[in-house]
Symmetry: C2
Subunit: 419 residues, 2 copies
């Protein structure tokens, strides 16, 4: 990285304009209600508001809840929402209908999926996860291992093939993410799935940072289980319901601990004994938060007619351009995200010792990214609404902040909770 000349800036500005002018997804940006003047590069934490959401929410509150009341479970098909929304997510992650459901949080879905996986592999005593995995994945893995008397081994993705070759027959299930949430590194889902399954273990994918961000082909990969959240690249709203994928061949044996009445074969038979529903519907637990569920459903229409291949192409164009801007305009940062596009998710992460204050100072300029302790600045790009102009603007602001030292101001030092 080096100090920019005016010529560099002019060239980058021209390139941003040209790339945005020929962007096949340019019109999709209008499907989101973005605040004026804000550069939003935190859609990997909370997706922006899709324009389809407000009218649906107003209808859900006034007509469905207020007027139709309890009858909405039938008349407005609330009861079917988890499976209907699940199928809509399934379309974005390569899952044929009837294998995905929406509901609860990622943590809860992880618990059910890992527990069911362990139960389906009796006698195998290891549960694998990534030491770099998002904390909740590690916590839930530890909890499930404790409950069922297994042992968690934290094996980095790069070491997984060797580990499986050595001890694969002891492994019940491996829970991994295709994208490192801090660095944005993208792993090879197909190779990992094959290696885990060759060992006779089940593969559980956490798609929080992949669903809606890049093409995922669960059925084609022969994936076993997957979970993911609804509020990042799916833009389903704060704390939107998560999702669970159970490959059809595993559904009949899927034996979860959270045996809520919504997953019963005859939920209104009110029998005192549990009998799971057929299909992925057995993964249902309690009554889902319908308002949040309908917001997620409306949000997913932003993907209507959008090919995930186009999303991926634009995402890579955005992150590549980000790296070029960073190379030209920034000093004192280390690029953490792989430069090889094949190994890059939909974010760029930079390392800087003053990451916290820099992100705060950027936010004061209405450029929103986030940070992950201790020193990583994360910039997520959602190809549905981020432009190359946004990317250049973000890097220019970051350059101005760091060069001027304005992030040293007292108000940017205070530690607050930032998700």
């Amino acid at each position: 990285m080096t100090t920019a000349t005016t010529h560099d800036l002019d060239a980058l500005t021209a390139r941003a304009s040209a790339l945005d002018a020929t962007d096949p997804l340019a019109a999709v940006r209008d499907r989101f209600l973005l605040p004026e003047g804000v550069v939003y590069l935190d859609g990997n934490s909370l997706g922006a508001l899709p324009a389809a959401v407000p009218p649906v929410m107003a209808d859900a509150v006034h007509r469905q809840w207020g007027t139709d009341l309890i009858r909405s479970w039938n008349d407005n098909a609330w009861w079917e929402a988890p499976l209907r929304v699940g199928d809509a997510i399934g379309r974005l992650v390569g899952a044929a209908p009837g294998q995905t459901l929406a509901g609860d949080s990622t943590s809860v879905q992880l618990f059910n999926a890992l527990s069911a996986a362990v139960r389906s592999r009796p006698g195998r005593e290891l549960l694998l996860t990534d030491p770099g995995h998002f904390p909740t994945d590690q916590y839930i893995a530890d909890s499930v291992a404790r409950l069922f008397g297994l042992e968690v081994r934290r094996v980095p993705p790069a070491e997984l093939p060797d580990f499986l070759a050595r001890e694969g027959e002891r492994v019940a299930v491996a829970g991994y993410s295709p994208v490192d949430y801090r660095t944005g590194e993208l792993y090879d889902m197909a190779a990992t799935t094959r290696a885990v399954q060759r060992a006779g273990a089940l593969m559980l994918w956490d798609l929080c940072h992949a669903a809606g961000a890049l093409p995922v082909r669960l059925d084609e990969l022969g994936a076993d289980l997957a979970v993911g959240c609804g509020y990042k690249f799916l833009s389903g709203g704060p704390g939107a319901p998560a999702f669970l994928y159970v490959a059809e061949r595993h559904q009949a044996a899927f034996d979860q601990p959270l045996t809520g009445w919504n997953g019963h074969a005859e939920p209104f038979g009110l029998s005192g004994g549990y009998a799971p529903a057929a299909g992925v519907g057995r993964g249902r637990i309690g009554t889902p938060p319908i308002l949040s569920m309908l917001a997620l459903e409306a949000a997913l229409t932003a993907f209507d007619g959008v090919a995930m291949a186009d999303v991926r192409a634009k995402s890579l164009s955005l992150t590549s351009f980000f790296l070029d801007c960073a190379d030209a305009l920034l000093d004192g940062f280390t690029v953490v995200t792989p430069r090889d596009p094949e190994r890059r998710g939909s974010q760029v992460t930079l390392r800087h010792p003053e990451a916290y204050a820099l992100v705060q100072a950027l936010s004061a300029r209405d450029v929103i990214g986030d940070m992950r302790a201790p020193d990583m600045l994360r910039f997520g790009v959602n190809a549905l609404y981020v432009t190359h102009g946004d990317v250049l603007s973000a890097v220019r602001h970051l350059s101005e902040v760091v060069n001027s030292g304005e992030h040293h101001a007292e108000r940017f030092q205070r530690r607050t909770t930032v998700t």
Copy 2:
């Protein structure tokens, strides 16, 4: 029950008017947006829409999510919502602040609470529940018992004292509801809590049919654990977040299996090892559905300045009046709900072999109750918005339906899912 005379009807009409005219909660009805012409006696399944909800939801969607975006976790205090809403519910169930949190579904909260209870009573091999308990309570009890190697015993509330006297020292936890969801029978929470605790077991109350319906005094009772839902008498919206109460003295040892990152002592430290937060916050799991959470928070303001003693007095007035109307106007029904007010929750249940068709025919007349298989018609009264006039109207319509036989019409026979 007998055939009514015009004189009976006139007298009942006059009594309804008089009771409604002197109702100290009459003005509270205006805090709800009830559809014109509908008699809504199903608030024990889905509470009506509080008027405070729509503006809060519009703000949550447009300003908080759409404009403030990720910053809302701090700036609009999304992060604190589960504890803030929990305390608001705590006020209605006699819990001092810091012991109640909102989130997830009742089924999930039951799973965490029962599991933590079992872990705190090692060596005790029985888990007690009511054979008449709502199915999900029984299913989750069975699941927790299976996981931890315990045995579930289904002991009706009336037999609980004898059972505990005989086998109490083997019991880890007893999970009961103060109100039978089918019959509306109210049990003695204080006596049950004492009997269970005298045996050295933990008492877990499911307050789904009590919270917001009648005074509950968790702290005063010395209750151990409680859960409940947000969408019945609390009117928090379809699938509103549930709640969990952990008495302060149990919090430090509360050891739940769903160790999601929101319950971590330092959720943003991103440590790979779980360390539970202090206080009831350790009961948090994953990221909560904020839109549904904020709807629930707004809904709870309908209770502002309302004394639960007044709610109870009006509820009993409504159900007593319902029974009088039924006695005067209905033939062929059996009253299931206890006539003794001390033993009555906030609903009236009638038995009739054609319950399903009758409820459908009533719904066609915009009188909404529900049924529970095989033959129970349930009519819930939420004292915040139901009037004595509503009650009389419901019983009159029911009388007209059953006397005319209009429920025999083909369209009322089809079986659909009704919650």
